[in-house]
């Protein structure tokens, strides 16, 4: 295989958005950090370390031959399975925000579901590249991989982490879609998925409240609609050019933990519509550069792998943005590269690292 040059544009796009993320985490979190930890820099110190580690990791993975994952895909998936099982055991997994989805590790938390996302993308990419012909046959080709996905989805929903589970399922299903499975099949899954969502709502009625709050957040402004309203109170007053850097009002204890899921609200408030355009453009360009790599690549595993990883990032970003601006109910997904959270950042940068390696081949 001929050796290409790494996609430097993608690399710098990620570096830029990562630095912007650090800056915005400072703006969004300093008030809260000062109040809770008497250290305004508490969150960006941690995020800064993760970012540096992420750069090293991204660089390392961009040089590590991705075919290694193809060979070790079963092992990787096995480790993910064990971790996802372990995290459910009280004492090992830690509960945060109502979900037992964390391994406490020193001052940091690690989310196995984030890493399972990459594991599953690798596994699915390998599966699709090996069973290219079988994929026309639903029973032989599609159902086995759907079964694997279903098991992991179930594990993650036990935590429960609906947001990550959605990102994973959407990504893997999209990979299967791309592999050339008949459209009629997806119509069927669509119907089933809808029924599944209804079922999930029946199991945990709080999800219904989230949906209702999405439809009209003002029906319960202090309960389920609270976050959306607070988010809109940040975005709206941002206007075209924003309140200016560090001038957000909503970060002053109105929007809960603004540095994580709702960091986009703070960006909108401080930089206005202009800031929103820039952030969305960054995600678009990252996605576009990644897809270009995928389509330029001839090896089918590398093609599926880079497509899956880039789709995983963009679908997570899209879900987060849609929540923050009130287009879909609150699901609890972070914004890649921008939200505070070590696991999320490392996994996103690792994904880019792998895609960069694909670009070299």
């Amino acid at each position: 295989m001929k050796q290409n040059k790494m996609d430097k544009v993608l690399f710098f796009l990620v570096l830029l958005i990562g630095i912007f993320g650090i800056v915005m985490i400072y703006s969004a979190s300093s008030i809260w950090a000062e109040y809770k930890f008497h250290d305004a820099f508490k969150f960006i110190k941690a995020q800064g370390i993760f970012f540096l580690v992420g750069i090293v990791l991204m660089n390392f993975l961009s040089k590590l031959d991705y075919h290694l994952y193809e060979k070790k895909s079963n092992l990787i998936l096995g480790i993910c399975f064990i971790l996802l099982t372990l995290v459910l055991i009280p004492g090992i997994g830690t509960v945060r925000n109502g979900s037992r989805s964390w391994f406490g590790l020193g001052g940091f938390g690690i989310q196995p579901s984030e890493f399972a996302k990459i594991g599953l993308i690798i596994y699915t990419a390998k599966y699709l590249s090996r069973n290219q012909k079988n994929m026309r046959d639903i029973k032989k080709g599609v159902l086995p991989i759907l079964f694997v996905i279903g098991v992991f989805f179930f594990l993650i929903m036990l935590e429960p982490d609906f947001g990550t589970a959605m990102v994973i399922v959407l990504t893997l299903v999209c990979m299967i879609f791309v592999s050339g499975v008949k459209i009629s099949f997806f119509v069927k899954i669509g119907v089933m998925g809808l029924l599944g969502i209804v079922g999930l709502i029946i199991i945990a009625p709080y999800r219904m409240a989230r949906i209702v709050s999405f439809l009209n957040p003002w029906t319960d402004p202090l309960g389920s609609g609270f976050q959306i309203i607070q988010s809109l109170y940040a975005i709206g007053p941002g206007g075209l050019l924003g309140q200016g850097f560090l001038n957000s009002h909503q970060k002053h204890f109105y929007l809960p933990e603004p540095q994580t899921d709702f960091i986009f609200s703070i960006i909108s408030e401080e930089f206005g519509f202009l800031g929103v355009l820039i952030v969305v453009s960054f995600f678009f360009l990252i996605f576009y550069r990644s897809l270009r790599i995928s389509m330029n690549h001839n090896d089918s595993f590398g093609k599926y792998l880079s497509f899956g990883l880039s789709f995983g990032i963009i679908i997570q970003a899209v879900l987060n943005l849609c929540v923050v601006i009130g287009l879909i109910p609150v699901t609890g997904v972070t914004l890649p590269f921008l939200s505070y959270g070590g696991s999320s950042l490392l996994v996103s940068m690792a994904s880019i690292g792998i895609i960069l390696n694909v670009s070299r081949k």
Partner: protein, 652 residues
Amino acid sequence: MCLFLNMEFFSYIFMGDSMFFNDVHTRIRFVFLVILCILLAIIIRVFYIQVFQYDKLSSLAESLWSRELPITADRGEILDRNGKVLATNITTTSLVVIPNQIKNASDVAKKLSDILQSDYEDMLVHVTKKTSIERVHPEGRQLSYEIAQQINDLELDGVYLVKESKRFYPYGNVLSHVLGYVGIDNQGLSGLELSYDEYLTGENGAIKYFSDGKGNRLELTEVYEEPQNGINLQLTIDLDLQLAAERELDNVMSKYTPEHALIMAMNPKTGEILAMASRPSFDSNHYQDYSTEVINRNLPIWMTYEPGSTFKIMTLATSLEEKTINLFEDSYFDGGAITVEGATIHCWKHGGHGDQKFINVVENSCNPGFVVMGQKLGTDTLMRYIRNFGFGSKTGIDLNGESNGILFKNENMGPVELATTSFGQGISVTPIQQVTAVSAAVNGGTLYTPYIVGSMLEPETNTIIKKNEPNMVRKVIRDESSSLVRYALESVVAKGSGRNAYIENYRVGGKTGTAQKVQNGVYQAGNYILSFIGFMPADDPEIVVYVAVDHPNGVVQYGGTVSAPIAKSFLQTAIEVLDLPPTDQGMEREYNWMDTKYVILPNVVGMNLEDAKKALKGFQVEYSGTGDKINYQSPKGGYYIKEGGTVKLMLE
């Protein structure tokens, strides 16, 4: 963007180039387009939120962020016609707390309740209330300087002292029924304070600042919104005349301890009220200390009673207008009583006044004489004029709580009712109706709407925003008739029952009234309302005054003995206040044996001392200076002075 989005990109997306992956690439292109559409939808949605919902969300968010420390506006002042302040404001301090900013609620509540000497539990409720800002009401309102200083010294977070203005009436009881009073929130509760509340109330200002979600003050911004003070009211009241009225009432209260007493004065040419006072009264600063009956009843406009003889002015004016009598030529023999349809109506003078011209009937206030005047007019004519003079309906003065009074309906009036109405019995009227009607009778015949607010003034510059102009209701009688009324009433004061109101060298007209009070349809023995209505100068009235004293004790029950002297004393003040010039054109006074005699003082200026002393025989003469010729005398020659009075002379 061009760097990334060139034609190469679109060729990737829309044109397949690899045979093997053709299907896969088509699907990837499809996914790309879907994602592109979603990103566009997101951008459109954000644009919608940030541009189209900008105003709505910004104002909602701002109301979430902002906290206000209120600054109360000063209420408009109330001034007399010369700009003297009748109601003003004093600045006090009030306590407000912002519960979210209070760190140790129980400690703060303890300290504050100790200083205010109020209940700890109540204070704890205030400082822990789930609200953005809490006014500590009422114990924390209108604090003294010392208390405020103590609270300030605590330097507690979330505890604020804000300026609050408090209404103050510098003259206390003076004009209190007209001014009214305000509640603790400076809201008008009665009188002008109530009826002009929307003008007097200003716009409150505020110190606005943004707070964080925990209620702490953000240093970002602070906006000071200046309070807009209320509009000042300038009354038609003349404080000097008002004070004179109050003084007269104080005298009459201590002298006769009547149930009620009132004095009212009006400018007959405009309807402007110059003074309005009554007893019992109250102090607007401490209205809570009085019964609601006392504070709510503004007697000059609220009280209704049989007017008695003062009402005869209406019968007189009507008769003169209708020319049913000639004052000087027609005569009437009063035998002491007149019989109307079997009912005998007695004159107040036992045995009657004998043969009189009608001018004497008026001077003597002879009841049978007025019955005849009424009979000559007939029910319909008399009642038409009475109604035209404003009786039976509100005058429309700009004060709350005015009564209508009661008249007979024409169809229910027989000869007896006509007879009693003619001399002021069997009907019920208010003092303000009488003053307004008599003003019309003596001012040339025009009825004006009485009013008490002269103009509204802009608070900063005192420039006039709105001026109330005299409102002419109707022409009731002709000028010539009015002139005859004035003549007859001047003659009442000079020669008749109103003699006690006579002022030397000034022309006073008037009429006394003695009305027996009715309770449950029965006349009360020995219980009278004694009244006098007077005006001056009698040829061209500048002021009409009405005095009524309800059930005075220890005095002969005649209006002439009780109320006329009060009116005289009041009018003497009015001479100075209105700067009325003396005149020698007035009617000469007729004396009865108990009156002090007044004589015309000769002019001695220019004479030598000896001649002057001769000319001033019968007077006490004091002189100063050493010259021979007199160049100044006081009082001046040509005016009436008391017989045997003192004359001061100055020699060259």
